[in-house]
């Protein structure tokens, strides 16, 4: 049977462990899909090739998590980052937590900040099927 995934979640995680963000370039529309899917997230084509992205992007939005899920230690910042190559991914933000709260009148200025991806390894839990490898963004 043919396997349709050019890049699996495991491949993506393995890249992240080396601070690399892998995506897929669409041979039909030229746009980038990230995180991986078997089809182009923009046009639906299956004609994709693996590509390493710059890991650079800008923050679209963020939140400081004060009440965390079981197995996670508060307080940490979650952010959405629009990568320079086009797609948007979720990750953690390595930043002073106090400055990411409403107590900081200028906290909204974090939106638009340029960041670059590295990674953080979080321990496995019963449901995660192994360690959790999460993009960790740092201010440039």
């Amino acid at each position: 049977m043919k396997e349709y995934y050019i890049l699996t979640a495991k491949d993506f995680y393995d890249g992240l462990r080396e601070d690399k963000i892998f995506g897929l370039r669409c041979k039909e529309c030229g746009q980038i899909t990230c995180p991986p899917l078997p089809t182009c997230q923009w046009c639906g084509s299956k004609d994709l090739e693996k590509t390493e992205l710059s890991g650079m992007g800008e923050i679209l939005t963020f939140t400081l998590i004060d009440v965390s899920p079981e197995g996670f230690e508060p307080h940490y910042i979650i952010c959405m980052v629009k990568l320079d190559e086009g797609p948007t991914i979720m990750g953690r933000l390595d930043y002073d937590a106090e400055k990411a709260t409403v107590k900081n009148e200028r906290s909204q200025e974090l939106i638009g900040m340029k960041v670059k991806a590295s990674h953080v390894v979080l321990p496995a839990d019963v449901y995660s099927g192994g360690e959790k490898i999460v993009p960790l963004f740092k201010a440039l």
Binding site: T61, I65, V67, P69, E70, I78, M80, T88, G91, T101
Partner: protein, 395 residues
């Protein structure tokens, strides 16, 4: 497609219960069956929303146990799971199977015991409704998603965050005001007179959302009897007709173009409007999925009641309070009434039906009795959306 009606509804009190998911579902189902005057042998299928019965009490495959408890013979029973949208997709499927002519009467509803999990595990399981690899593993939570949506909304529409938080607080104030007057609500006789400061200064959950920006974890059940319109009047003098139904889907948040303009909700609500031949201006009463204050505002725009970026002003000005139009969440919504996630959509339907029969609780009842109502139910990070448009009159 045949016309379809709701001939009976039921809802348990929402809050903390020492009853199993099966017991909560059956309490609501028996109430709905009694109202509809249906015999057990009249019901041909059972569709139940239940999201985490496995985590809550070690129960999967709940359908057969519901059928046995209700003595419905050996009819097919199917569990529907679309996170917090589960009961609405169960009712939508019941509607379609009856509309198609395959069944004449289906029992649909939902149940949940989220409080049994405690805050830490409940927060974990709710987060499982996002993409496990690319969202859940990062440690995002549902209030976290709507906290990010609030910051994005503030940025896009250039509303200073402290101003937006004040506007958002009015969602909590309005819905708790209504919930405090609803005997079935988790916060009945509680928090009916909140001030903006009470919301903004309560404990931070996911900055900038405080505890009072969030709905609670809840236990409860709700159900509805769905029947062919042709036979509905054999059972009730007050059938409530299903005029339109929609459902939509989307993947992880990053793949969605704009989390303040959820495309899955636009798709689902437009589908429902198109089928009903109606538009947002026709809706008298609306049950919106107000899991968080920012969520109600975003929904009110995506369904089409207000222009993009104007929903926050609308709630602050009282346009969605009783006396405004459309009235949004006169029963307290998820925030005041509670949010047993597997049951929520069926409880929204219960409220619209009660309002249309003029027997909603004092302080919840809309006057004059609403003719056209709508429900909006959200599962996950806009991953599952469903809408139902209900009317007192057949098309």
């Amino acid at each position: 497609m045949r016309d379809v009606a709701i001939i009976g509804t039921g809802q348990t009190r929402f809050g903390r219960w020492d009853k199993s998911n099966t017991e909560l579902f059956c309490d609501a189902a028996l109430e709905a069956m009694e109202e509809a005057n249906v015999d057990q042998k009249d019901i041909e299928a059972l569709y139940a929303g239940a999201v985490f019965p496995t985590f809550e009490e070690g129960q999967c495959n709940i359908g057969g146990h519901l059928v046995e408890s209700l003595h419905l013979g050996n009819i097919p029973a199917t569990r529907f799971e679309g996170a917090c949208c589960s009961a609405t997709i169960a009712i939508r499927d019941a509607y379609m199977w009856v509309a198609s002519g395959f069944y004449d009467i289906v029992l649909a509803g939902g149940t949940e015991r989220a409080l049994l999990m405690g805050t830490s595990l409940a927060t974990k399981t709710f987060a499982m409704a996002g993409d496990c690899k690319y969202e859940g593993n990062a440690g995002i939570t549902f209030p976290g998603m709507f906290a990010m949506a609030a910051r994005r909304y503030s940025k896009i529409y250039d509303i200073p965050l402290d101003k937006l938080r004040e506007k958002m607080a009015h969602v909590s104030i309005k819905n708790h005001k209504h919930g405090a007057l609803n005997p079935l609500a988790q916060f009945y006789q509680k928090m009916g007179n909140l001030k903006v400061e009470d919301v903004i200064n309560s404990r931070m959950i996911c900055d900038p959302l405080t505890l009072m920006d969030c709905c609670p974890f809840s236990d409860g059940g709700a159900a509805a009897i769905i029947a062919s319109a042709d036979i509905a009047r054999r059972y009730t003098d007050e059938p409530i007709y299903i005029l339109g139904a929609g459902q939509g889907s989307a993947g992880h948040l990053g793949a969605q173009e704009d989390m303040t303009k959820p495309a899955s909700r636009v798709f689902s609500s437009r589908s429902a409007f198109k089928q009903a031949g109606l538009g947002p201006k026709d809706i008298d009463i609306m049950e919106i999925h107000d899991c968080f204050t920012s969520a109600e505002i975003i929904a009110s725009e995506a369904i089409g009641f207000f222009d993009w970026g104007k929903g926050a002003d609308a709630v602050e000005e009282g346009q969605t309070d009783i006396g405004g139009r459309p009235v949004v969440n006169p029963d307290g919504g998820l925030m005041g009434k509670g949010h047993p996630i597997g049951a929520t959509g069926a409880a929204q339907v219960h409220t619209i039906a009660e309002e249309m029969k003029g027997r909603a609780p004092k302080g919840n009842q809309v006057d004059p009795v609403p003719e056209i109502g709508m429900t909006d139910t959200l599962g996950g990070g806009f991953n599952t959306l469903a809408h139902l448009i209900l009317g007192r009159s057949r098309r």
